[in-house]
Symmetry: C2
Subunit: 596 residues, 2 copies
């Protein structure tokens, strides 16, 4: 059976040593986030993830959820674990203190979420969706709505959902048909069917707050006629007490490839009482607030599953005796050597390790920009932070799930045949993480968001900020001999990224298919470059520690080796991505649909 | 529900136009394999695969196999389909006429096997394993054994298995413990446990012929003490009649990620009556005969599943309406355009299509060399053919399953959320094909076979033959303007492959870890180069047809476009693989095991 041990040392390294949160102690929330408190939170969260959530991961996969008479039963142990989550105050970690939150920076919440997802991705989606609902409401809800719903979303007593997809529309929300009719009392009655609603129905919380996209009767067609509504499972009285059961029911559960522990529901709305959130016909914008946050959370799932898959593959590789090292026996008294002596097994482990640690750094770096976008004192910093956060969101979502899936697959490969057998658990990680490439906007949609929107907006301001970050690093460290082997390849990757960016500017404005055809490769090129920056930063920090008091510490030494592995073995892929971008759309678009 | 339509036109194109089997009409079996007969076989096989096997594919996945009182029940419909397979004479297709076979070239059998695997991979493994047993026996069995067992393996009345793995040993067969004791009458009694035995037990055939690796009492330790045995489920009398039930029983079925329709058995041998095949202590060599053939068959599964996954994704992409083309509506009367208008969707389809067709060409090209190795008249050709076949076997096994899995995943991605839901079937292809990267020697083992054995043997004779094939093509076609865009990148890839080969020669002899660390990348570089040669050949043939009587034929036009896509978008990856090879083993081996 798989196990999980939270990578607490890596979290500390990133938060305290590389990102150094104490630099921002002047900002709200950061003041409280002292290294001591953060370490304490990490330790407690690790215990909860390792001891409570992880043992339920295989149970959730095997049992799945069941629906009977409209009631969804979650796997054994999930309800109790959820209670412990609430009792521990975890849902409140990064929420607004005005509504009972602890107000810590989101970068700390990201660390918590990674641990939860590693331990039990399907479970983590219940509080994950709640937090999305919280975000949509705190940004777009009325004061009354906030007062009514936020405290119990923050405490976790209630959970939340996002209702976007309908059978005939997923990506193209302009087609949606769910209808909202004014009831005359300021509320609406919503009717329609939503599908693939994660955490859509269960009994773990007293109430479920559904956020639902619908079209108000008479609203314009397309995305300009979509509004966001709040539909509670149980209506809430003025005193906060739960009232009548609302006309929203789970009509079915999807049978899926994985994340069986999460209830993926068909939700039927039959004149359900609903409350408008934000302005009429501005629902898509409000939903994007929720979705952008969710996208970072999905990228995180990619890293989280790759991490736990890696840990278990590593344990297998140290334990399984098979064959002898090419350089002679390493376990001469045993019948064979542990397979970790074989270069190809190590190659797989190093691939996954280099991704996990590099991507985690990028995730936390980006989450920190997100915090600065909200909390920095000067507008200039907030603007730049918001730019970088927006730019990196699709990059992280798509790259970390593409590669997180690849990491889980590569970890499974380390096991040989055992990786294919259910009892070892490696295959569950693969099945679970696969959804992350799809939901919250497929990775293709992320690439289009990056190329079609984020690159272009404000004349490329965000991407210039990103290049400036790289240039500043190169400028500051280019003369450091011990960093040359990292700075030089970073410079090459940066050049490839710049060429690809220029190529779009020159070739995609008049011919947008050139952007669409190269978007996915561009996104990977972008991510590789960003992660090269992260590795250079991490190695710089590690080398400084090794030179100052931590000589011989295997943690820092491993950082340097892993960073080197990344730049020599993985980063050279940027050239192929650039070639693919520059190949343009012609061959992609040449075939008639019938010729496929 | 997924469907399958055999790519019969592509088979005809490859067998008749690109490879032109009629060139070998002087050789045994080829004389009979006229284009007419081959087309007839393909058409009948297609009908069988599409109408009989494919509809059982989801059934097999859902029901799986069950074990009760030692009896394995296969999914509904499998037994009837197996009867139809036998009645159709399909197992005999490429077998030796002396034992009732039809004696056709194996390259025709490969086409049949691809169709079977596309339609129902789990089902296809039953006859697939039988053919492996046939091969081992025909090469290593005694005349008596051949006479007794081969006719009914050829007819399909009996099936066969391969028994290698034990709980503590898979790749490292030297560790195996299953014991054989001479019974005094020339037979042996075998005791031990084998695991992961595909098609190990079922009632679809009257008898099952297990080929089992075991160690004769007193034999040397390690691989030099392993012998191959034949253990029939029912003993066979001198008259061919079935006798007593042998002491071999299925002790359990594995729960797996996929291929649920195939019974993956724990096989317990309890003093089972066994007959030595070939010489004592030479079992591993005999088993390799079976395994090498099986490896090509596994590579084929990668292509087969990628093909069927592609076909269904293509249908989805033409049917699903979502969004508008970047260049303006293509389906103005509908609510949205079919998603095949979107460049990123096309990119995914083109990726898979370019792999499927290129890899299929390489598979058939290699299978043809295999036929020539057996049947060519002059020894020089037989030797060269055997070299190329041996060289390409690990390349095909590993590359076609790595990329076949990637193709199934990419096809699943085309569906968006529907790809994750069981009822659409896309996720089954992903789960099923995943095993192909693992069994019959993990892909890492294939890479070591390529680099450690195939490259080095006879002073690199095989790889020089391969380079000579490329050079001959470039020489013959380099001046053809219409082929320049294919020949030039082929030359670049060839150069990368040569550099990587030289790097191993210079750096891996004294430091074998350098070979191990670069082997997987080298194998991919090798495959890309070989497939570039295939594309160049296919495009040449297609262009010739377009210029001579088939102007405007969309099939040939699509070949040219898809070949162009391959060389501009996929082939540039060779540079990154070369860089990874040249990065060497140092960073891969640097970490202590505890630092992972």
């Amino acid at each position: 059976m798989p196990t999980y041990q939270a990578p607490t040392r890596d979290y500390g390294f990133l938060l305290h040593e590389v990102l150094d949160l104490t630099r921002y102690a002047n900002l709200p929330g950061f003041a409280e986030a002292t290294p001591d408190l953060v370490d304490q939170i990490i330790a407690q969260a690790a215990k909860f993830a390792e001891e409570v959530l992880q043992p339920l991961n295989a149970v959730g996969d095997t049992q799945g959820c069941t629906l009977k008479d409209g009631v969804v039963t979650v796997p054994d142990g999930f309800a109790d674990a959820y209670r412990q989550l609430v009792d521990g105050g975890w849902p409140a970690l990064v929420c607004d203190p005005r509504y009972g939150g602890q107000g810590l920076p989101n970068v700390v919440g990201v660390v918590f979420n990674e641990m939860v997802s590693s331990a039990n991705m399907a479970f983590g989606m219940y509080p994950g969706l709640s937090h999305g609902a919280y975000s949509a409401l705190i940004h777009h809800g009325s004061d009354d709505q906030k007062d009514t719903y936020l405290p119990r979303l923050v405490s976790g007593e209630w959970t939340g959902t996002m209702n976007l997809t309908e059978p005939h529309c997923g990506t193209d929300l302009g087609l949606l048909r769910t209808k909202a009719v004014p009831a005359g009392d300021g509320s609406y009655r919503i009717s329609g069917q939503k599908i693939w609603i994660s955490a859509g129905e269960h009994e773990m919380a007293e109430n479920i707050i559904h956020l639902v996209l619908a079209r108000i009767e008479g609203a314009p067609e397309g995305v300009g006629g979509i509004s966001l509504f709040l539909v509670p499972k149980y209506l809430v009285g003025a005193d906060g007490a739960l009232g009548a059961r609302n006309a929203v029911r789970c009509g079915g559960l999807e049978e899926k490839m994985g994340i069986h522990g999460n209830a993926t529901c068909v939700m039927n709305y039959d004149e359900a009482t609903a409350f408008l959130v934000g302005e009429e016909n501005k629902g898509l914008k409000a939903m994007f607030t929720m979705m952008n946050e969710a996208r970072l959370g999905v990228g995180l799932q990619g890293i989280a599953l790759s991490e736990v898959a890696y840990q278990n593959a590593r344990a297998f590789a140290k334990d399984r005796l098979q064959g002898r090292a090419l350089t002679g026996p390493k376990n001469p008294d045993g019948p064979a050597d542990p397979i970790i002596v074989h270069p190809d097994v190590r190659r797989m482990l190093m691939n996954v390790k280099a991704f996990n640690e590099g991507a985690r750094a990028l995730l936390l770096w980006t989450a920190l920009w997100g915090d600065l976008a909200d909390r920095a004192e000067d507008e200039e910093t907030r603007r730049k932070a918001d730019d970088l956060m927006g730019l990196m969101t699709p990059v992280l979502k798509a790259y970390c799930t593409d590669m997180g899936f690849a990491g889980a697959v590569e970890a499974q490969q380390v096991y040989g045949g055992s990786g294919y057998v259910k009892e070892w658990g490696a295959e569950q990680f693969v099945r679970d993480v696969r959804i992350a490439m799809i939901y919250e906007g497929t990775n293709g949609i992320q690439a289009l968001d990056l190329v079609g929107r984020k690159l272009a907006s404000h004349g490329g301001r965000a991407v210039f900020s990103f290049f400036a970050e790289i240039d500043a690093f190169i400028e500051a460290n280019g003369d450091d001999d011990s960093l040359k082997e990292f700075v030089a390849p970073l410079g090459v990757a940066r050049k490839h990224l710049e060429k690809a960016t220029m190529w779009f500017m020159e070739n995609a404005l008049e011919k947008p298919d050139n952007a669409g055809a190269g978007a996915a490769d561009y996104l990977h090129l972008f991510a590789l470059t960003a992660i090269a920056l992260m590795w250079a930063q991490m190695v710089r920090t590690a080398q400084a520690r090794l030179a100052n008091g931590a000589a011989g510490d295997p943690f820092y030494e491993a950082k340097v080796v892993t960073g080197r592995y990344f730049v020599t073995r993985i980063l050279p892929r940027t050239a192929a991505h650039l070639a693919a971008v520059k190949a343009g759309a012609d061959d992609v678009m040449a075939l008639a649909a019938d010729a496929f």
